[in-house]
Amino acid sequence: MSQRQRNKSIEDILRVIELCRSIRLSSADPFEVDIKEKINILRKLLPEYKFLDELLLDAEALYQLSQIVKLQDEYIKRKAGSMYIDPLLIELKLRLLSKESLANAIVKSLHPIATLDQLSPRGLERAFIYWRDLQPLSERFKDERGITTQPGKIGVEELVTMRILSKEKFEDKLKAVEDELTKVSAGEWIDYYSFIDAGKYEEKVEKAYILAFLVTEGKAEIRIDPLSEKVYLRSSNIKLTSEPRSVAIPVGAE
């Protein structure tokens, strides 16, 4: 069998499956499917199958056809029973009736179930065991979600506690950078990157970090030119009156 013929036979099976599915999932008449004709198609194609996926498709088509036969059986039983009424007539009546009349119709044919729902000692015991063995939400979905850590902030206090910085040393550094900025800028706008560029990458990051503190305290000002996207810096001595705005400035990779 050529590739073209193979594709065509697969298409034929898929068409049978799709037809059966669409009939099953709608209220369409199941007798619209000509079972004999479809079986003949499958029978004709069967000897030509070579691959497993073709055989699986054939099995699926047969299953779908069997479901249609089941529906046809139910359809005949219903139609033969006294419950059969012309669907169009019912639809018309349903459209014409008011909400109150419809509610009245269902209530007149309703026989509510009488039941008592109560907690038994066994039920209580099961509930207790369930609650006792129930893991916290974070544990329950660990395998699916993995362990996630939320991004957080690290402040000077914490760095001091972690012994990365010492309080005295940090304040000295703060003062040194402030003095340097006052000296270099002398109240004029200077290029931010030129100022922090200190040769070594670690020193550059440290200077940017300390500058962030100076800006927050109002001892330095930052201005970003929206057109050239250049960042400017100058020393300042303004007292902050409003909530400071956070600005992210990349310092570049090593």
Partner: protein, 184 residues
């Protein structure tokens, strides 16, 4: 004679307790359970119990299972007579919801027992707002009045247990009485 009477009373009491207390997710007791707890003659016991309960307005009702066998049948206790609209409203059923249920069951029956959910929603939206239709259908599926298989809606076990579908269709066809009786 006295021993027989005591035996019967014991069985009746046991059957009533089994039927009234909901043990699983759904009310009622399966045929095989009743045979196990009451004995082979459980149908006779249920018949007598049903007669005894008629003075309280209750009856024992059999809901046939998928294979129509006695074992798969579900036996329930239900009201012998339908409630009034007022009583149904007092039990927490809204007129809107009852109307949606009436349309849904009658429509599915007219369509030979199955209708696609989309088709059903489209039909209901001629009379009811979208949110009411979606909310009510979901609720009926959850309560067992309807069964949803993929996109297909079918009659659920509770409808078969509580609703006399033949009466409903007759009432719908006869146009019911436009005047809703006041039963307060």
């Amino acid at each position: 004679m006295e021993a027989d009477r005591a035996y019967l009373e014991r069985k009746l009491k046991r059957a009533f307790q089994l039927l009234i207390l909901q043990r699983g997710r759904n009310p009622g007791v399966k045929g095989w359970e009743l045979r196990r707890y009451i004995g082979k003659d459980f149908r006779k016991i249920l018949e007598i119990l049903s007669k005894e309960l008629s003075s309280f307005g209750l009856e024992v009702y059999e809901v046939k299972g998928p294979d129509n066998s006695e074992d798969s049948s579900r036996f329930i206790l239900r009201f012998r007579e339908p409630p009034t609209l007022y009583e149904a409203e007092m039990a927490g059923m809204r007129i809107d919801e009852l109307a949606v249920l009436a349309v849904t069951i009658a429509y599915i029956n007219a369509k030979q027992g199955r209708a696609s959910r989309k088709e059903m929603e489209r039909f209901l939206r001629e009379k009811f707002p979208k949110w009411r239709v979606e909310y009510s259908l979901d609720r009926f599926v959850k309560k067992g009045y309807l069964e949803q298989n993929e996109e297909l809606l079918q009659i659920g076990w509770r409808t078969r247990a509580e609703i006399d579908e033949r009466t409903l269709l007759t009432l719908v066809l006869s146009g019911v009485s436009e005047k809703v009786p006041s039963s307060k």
